[in-house]
C-alpha cells in the first residue's frame, strides 16, 4: 500500500468573528500519497490557498486534523512546526519570492544552511540547480533571471532539504504556457523519479494533464470536476454557466462577459490558441 504523506481530515477554517465571519473551508478531507501529483483547482476565493497553507503548517485550522506522515502537526508548538516546514515540506510560490539580494545559488544554499547543513549546503545547491538546468545562472540575482528560471530556482530551494512533499501555490501563474508546462513537468518528474508528493493549487487549466488527480474546490468544499469547462480566452477552469457561446455546433463557456465579448470579436484566434495549448 502506498504511503500517505499528507492527510487532511475534516478541515474547517473560519476567518473573523460575528458578522464578518467567513467560512473558508467546510470539512475538507484530502490524502496525498507518496509520489502523487494532486492538482486542486477552483475559482478565486474558493479556499485553495487556505487549504495549502493549512497543509503546510503555516495556518492553523479551526477544526480538523493535519497529519504529515502520520504525525499530527496542527497543535504542535511553533518551534517544532518551523523545523518541520524547513525539513519536510517544500514551498513554491506564485510570485517566486526569491530573496532579491541573493544569487540563485545563495537563495538555495541559505535554506540548506537554515536546516543546519552548513558544510555541504553550497555543493548541494549547485547540484540541484545543475539538475534543473541552471548551471550557467547560479551567480545571477533574481532580477537577471527569466520567470521560468526564477521558478526553477524556487523549485531548487523547495527541494534542497529533501522534503517529503512540495506545496505549490499557482506555480505557473506568472509564466507563459510553454514555460508553465515545463515547470509542471519538472514537478511531475520530481514526484515520479524521486518519490516526492506534489500538491498544486492553480487556476491554470493548461496544466491539468500533468496531475495524477484533479480536485475542484469551491465554497470551501471539494466538488465533482466532471462538469468543468475551460474559458478559451483566459484559460481558467469554470463551471458551465450563463456566459455561453455556440459556434460551429460547439459550446464555449466563459468566466466573465468580458472574456465572452473578446471571444465574439475574434473567435478564430482563441479556438486556434486553445487547440495549440491542448
Amino acid at each position: 500500500m502506498t504511503e500517505t504523506i499528507l492527510d487532511l481530515h475534516g478541515i474547517v477554517k473560519v476567518f473573523g468573528e460575528g458578522r464578518t465571519q467567513v467560512r473558508a473551508l467546510s470539512g475538507v478531507d484530502l490524502e496525498v500519497k507518496k509520489g502523487e501529483v494532486v492538482l486542486i483547482m477552483g475559482p478565486s476565493g474558493s479556499g485553495k490557498t487556505t487549504l495549502l497553507s493549512i497543509g503546510g503548517g503555516i495556518l492553523k485550522p479551526t477544526d480538523g486534523k493535519v497529519l504529515l506522515k502520520g504525525r499530527q502537526i496542527n497543535g504542535m508548538d511553533e518551534e517544532l512546526l518551523t523545523k518541520i516546514r524547513l525539513s519536510e515540506i517544500g514551498f513554491i510560490f506564485q510570485q517566486f519570492l526569491l530573496l532579491s539580494a541573493l544569487t540563485a545559488k545563495e537563495n538555495v544554499q541559505v535554506v540548506a544552511e537554515f536546516a543546519g547543513d552548513i558544510d555541504s549546503a553550497a555543493v548541494k545547491s549547485e547540484e540541484i540547480l545543475t539538475r534543473l538546468g541552471l548551471e550557467g545562472r547560479m551567480n545571477d540575482v533574481p532580477a537577471n533571471l527569466s520567470g521560468g528560471e526564477k521558478q526553477r530556482v524556487a523549485i531548487a530551494r523547495a527541494l534542497v532539504n529533501d522534503p517529503d512533499i512540495l506545496l505549490a501555490d499557482e506555480p505557473t501563474a506568472n509564466l507563459d504556457s510553454k514555460v508553465g508546462h515545463e515547470v509542471m513537468e519538472i514537478l511531475r518528474e520530481i514526484a515520479k523519479k524521486r518519490g516526492k508528493s506534489v500538491l498544486v493549487v492553480s487556476h491554470d487549466n493548461r496544466i491539468r494533464d500533468i496531475a495524477d488527480r484533479i480536485l475542484w474546490l469551491e465554497d470551501g468544499k471539494f466538488k465533482e470536476i466532471g462538469k468543468m469547462e475551460t474559458d478559451p480566452v483566459c484559460g481558467m477552469s469554470i463551471e458551465r454557466g450563463a456566459n455561453r457561446v455556440v459556434r460551429e455546433r460547439k459550446e464555449y463557456f466563459f468566466c466573465s462577459e468580458g472574456c465572452m465579448n473578446e471571444f465574439r470579436k475574434e473567435p478564430g484566434k482563441f479556438i486556434l490558441t486553445n487547440k495549440l495549448n491542448n
Binding site: R157, D169, E170
Partner: protein, 388 residues
Amino acid sequence: MVVSIARKNLFAEKTRFFVSVGGVAFSILLIVFLLGVYNAFQRLFIDYVESFAADLVVAQEGVTDMSHTFSLLDINKMSQIETISGGSVYGLVNRTTNARVREEDGSKIINFPGRKKGENKKAKKATINLMGFEKESGVGGPPIMLSGSKTPGKREIIVDRVFSKQNELTLGDSVELFDEVFTITGITDKNNMMLYTRAFVDLDEAQEVLRQKGQVNFILVSLPDPSRASEVVEKLESNIAGITVYKKSDFAKSNAKALMDTFVPIILVITVIGFATGAVVVGLTIYTATMEKIKEYGVLKAIGSTNRRLFFVVFEQALWSSLLGYILGIFLAWLVSKLVVDVINMVVEFNLATYILALGASILMSFVATYIPIMKIAKTDPAMVFRS
C-alpha cells in the same frame, strides 16, 4: 562560506547603506569629539595641579577649586602653616583678568616713558588666568616651557603658546596688565583653557599689579615626609581657623569635579542628541529596508526560519552600519581634532575609555535601531506569502 543575508541586503542598496553609516559616523564624531574636549580640559586642570612640587594645597575655608570659588589667604598664615607642618611653604596668586595685547590701531604694545597706560580702552584684549608663583622655587609655575626663561623677572611674563599664536606675540613683545606693561620672556604649553589661557608672573609682581600685597590665593606645602600628609592636613585644619587643606591629588580631583559639574550636563545633552541622531538614522534605514523586504522575511518564516534567526539578520545589518560608522566616526573625530588643534587651537584628547564608550554607544544604537523592525517581523504572518 555561510551566506549572510544581512550583508547581502546591506550591500545591495549601497546608497541607503552609506547614509546609514554616515549617520552613525556623524553621531560618533560628535560623541567622541565632545568627550575628547572634555578629557583634554580635565587633563589640563589636573595636570597643572599635579605639577606642583608640593604635597598639600591650602585654600580659604570652603574653597573647592581654582576656577569656581575664590580663595584669599592672609600672608601671615604661611609662617603658621610652615611651623605646624614642618615643611616648606609657597604662595600662589591666581586671578582671571583681561590683558591688553594690541593698541587700538592694531600695533604692538611698546613701553616708553610717557605712554598713557590704561587709557587705551579700545585696545584689543585677551583673557588670561594670571598665576603668580615664587620663581625661586618654581612651585606653581609653568609645567612645560617651549622657549624663553621659566623664571620671570620684574615686569616679565610667561604666556601660553596659543595666546602667543592668537595674538601674534612672541618673546620680547609686550602686554599690559592693570596699567603695567609686561614683556614676554617665556612661552609655555598646555595652558589653553579655551575661554582663557594661563600666564605666569613672579609672585611679587602679581601681588603688586593685583593690589593684593600681604595676601595670596593659595599656599602650597611641601612636606619632608609626604606619607604624613593626611596627619598634617588634620593638624593644620584644627590649628588654623578659616582654611581648608587638601592633599595635592585630592585638590586635583576636586578641580576636575568642578569642571565636570559644569560641563557634564552640557556634554551629556549633546551626547544624547548625538546618540539619538545615530540611532534614528540607522533605525530609519533599517526600518525602511525591513519593510521593503517584509515579504521576503515572510517567505523565510514560511519556509522554516525562526524569528530568532531573522532578528539576527536585522540586527546584523544594524551592527554592520554601526560598526563601520563607528570606525569612520573615530577617523573623522581624529581628523577634526587635528584641524581644530591647528586652526582654532582647541584642545582634544582621546583615550581608550572614550573609544570604548563610543563603541558601546554604537552597539547600543544597533539594538535601539532594530527594535521596531524586529517587532514588525515578529508580527509578520508567514501566510502573507500566499497573498498576491
